[in-house]
């Protein structure tokens, strides 16, 4: 599903050049649930941003579902993001003047789907994350866990190939984190490929594979025995 070869990325800050990714080789098969771990500054977020086409690599190749991701202009990048990827952010990033339902419908709007169809589909995804009753609430009327579940429903709405989650539980308490992880595990069980960036060990162990980053290099990449979040809830 995802293949990365010899990926380099550096940032220039004034006269200093910061080499963040120093040659990452890495691939993800369909249906995997992978966590990317590392201390802050290890380059894990940068890697995720490149995978998410929110940022561009300086060097190396990236293939997503057989499509080489290279020299994208804004227009094509936007198309690919819409078609291939679903994003889950630490700070939820819901549009605060739109209801939960409309937030979930956003990716579908950009696919050019008609309003009626969009609303039906968004409603189905809200049901899936257990928030059908909250469909017409505004984000500020929802708890953190609920917001993240709306964000997950939104990420799923366009039926992407890969879900990318950047610290999805970073802003949540432990109990809520586990509930969100339970949801993510459920989605993975249905066959969706998911990548999670986290620095929390317990969250990482709820995935099927942990990739450890340090100073811009993968130092460890091993499958783990998945701990079901449901057993902690």
């Amino acid at each position: 599903m995802i293949t990365i070869k010899d990926l380099h990325k550096s940032y220039t800050m004034g006269t200093n050049s910061l080499h963040v990714l120093k040659g990452i080789n890495f691939s993800v098969q369909e249906g995997e649930l992978v966590s990317i771990m590392g201390s802050s500054g290890s380059g894990k977020s940068t890697l995720l941003n490149i995978l998410g086409m929110l940022d561009e690599a300086d060097q190396g190749s990236y293939t997503l579902d057989g499509v080489p991701i290279k020299n994208l202009n804004e227009k094509i990048a936007a198309q690919y993001r819409n078609k291939f990827l679903g994003f889950i952010f630490q700070s939820f990033n819901l549009i605060n003047y739109k209801s939960a339902l409309d937030n979930v419908g956003m990716p579908l709007y950009y696919q050019g789907m008609k309003r009626k169809e969009r609303t039906e589909k968004a409603m189905a995804y809200l049901e899936k994350v257990g928030l059908a009753n909250w469909a017409h609430h505004m984000p500020n009327e929802l708890s953190g866990g609920q917001k993240q579940r709306v964000a997950i429903a939104r990420a799923l709405a366009s039926d992407p190939k890969v879900l990318l989650a950047d610290e999805p539980t970073g802003a949540l308490d432990t109990k809520t984190s586990y509930e969100v992880m339970d949801l993510i595990q459920g989605i993975n069980d249905e066959g969706k490929t998911i990548l999670i960036v986290t620095h929390e060990d317990d969250i990482a162990h709820m995935t099927k594979r942990i990739v450890n980053l340090k100073d811009g290099l993968i130092i460890d990449d091993a499958p783990v025995n998945q701990i079901r979040a449901a057993s902690h809830v």
Binding site: E74, A78, R81, Y109, Y110, R115
Partner: protein, 414 residues
Amino acid sequence: MFSLERWQEILETISKNKLRTFLTGLSVASGIFILVILLGFGQGMQNGISAEFQRDAANRISVYSGVTSMGYKGLNPGRFIEMTNDDYNYLITKYEDDIEFKSSVYRIWSGTLNYGNESGSYRVEGVYPDYQFLENENLVAGRYINYDDQRLKSKIMVIGNKVQQDLFAGKSAVGEYVQINGINFKVVGVYSDPGGEREETRVFVPLSTSQRVFGGADKVRNLGFTLKPQENFEDALAQSLQFSAEIEEFLKERHLVAPEDTSAINVNNTLESAKRFYDLIGMIKTFFWVVGICTIIAGVVGVSNIMLIIVKERTKEIGIRKALGAQPLSIIGMVLHESIFVTAIAGFTGLILSMALLEVLGPNMQMDYIKNPSVNFNVAITTVFILVFAGALAGFVPAWRAARIKPITALREE
């Protein structure tokens, strides 16, 4: 570009951000409102001042006759030329379309007025009803001479304020009989004149009466005309000069005066004042245009400012939308569509409100120098389009930049 889905999205965004929409709309609407009111009052001042000047008869043309200075066609110099009713009637018929006010004047030299024990010597003139406007006289009591008086050769008179003061010592003169050189005349009106006391020591009687009673036969002393106002000074000047030249030529030919004789027929054209009048109107127009343009500029700056703030405020939202698959063009379209929609609606609201206010207030305005403020609809609607266009242009630059921001940067924005 203008699909139904886009409209739904825009209308939803607008309805969910009422304060933002309201503030944008308010600045545009008030800008247009102020501009229209301002231009309206500019027009009102122009109307008012025009009215003041026209009552002054700044464009008056006077014709006097005098003594010939050279011989012509076998006639000796030194003849006294006297104009007649026929001259006057011929001229007012020939130039009927051009003339606004007209009167001929027969003057009674040294008219002595007696009322009771009071008496005084005043300038008594026989005139037509229009003479009130040629002299810029305002009635303070009673009425002016009218055409019935002319026809009936009534023995009535209109006297100046000063005459009333002198003869009546503060009493009302209207309805009283006053003798002019021993003949009774009834006072029907009292006038005031901005020219002051000197102008108010005059007495007017119907021209026909004066000619009959004081032995004038069909002779007239001078003629006064004003021409209808023109759009600009050049037209008025050209018309006035042509009119003066034509009547001078006509009168000289009729009274056998040499064409080069400058003393027998005098046509006095008050162009100097007319020029000042048109200059003033020109300056007022220019002033209000400058103020109007400055107001538009201020409005454009205001709209631009708000658009900048709106786009800045929405940076994060734009980042989210881009992460969800929004293309740059759709971001620009979204921002512009919203801004054009809001500024257009607000602009027309301001336009309609201000025009309505002018419609209601305008005709009822009773102030010196302001008369019937109104605004040219085309000018007003053009300014609305300029503002909407400027708002769109001002919104375009930040929208375009926002659309180019990397989503990752926009998302980091808090």
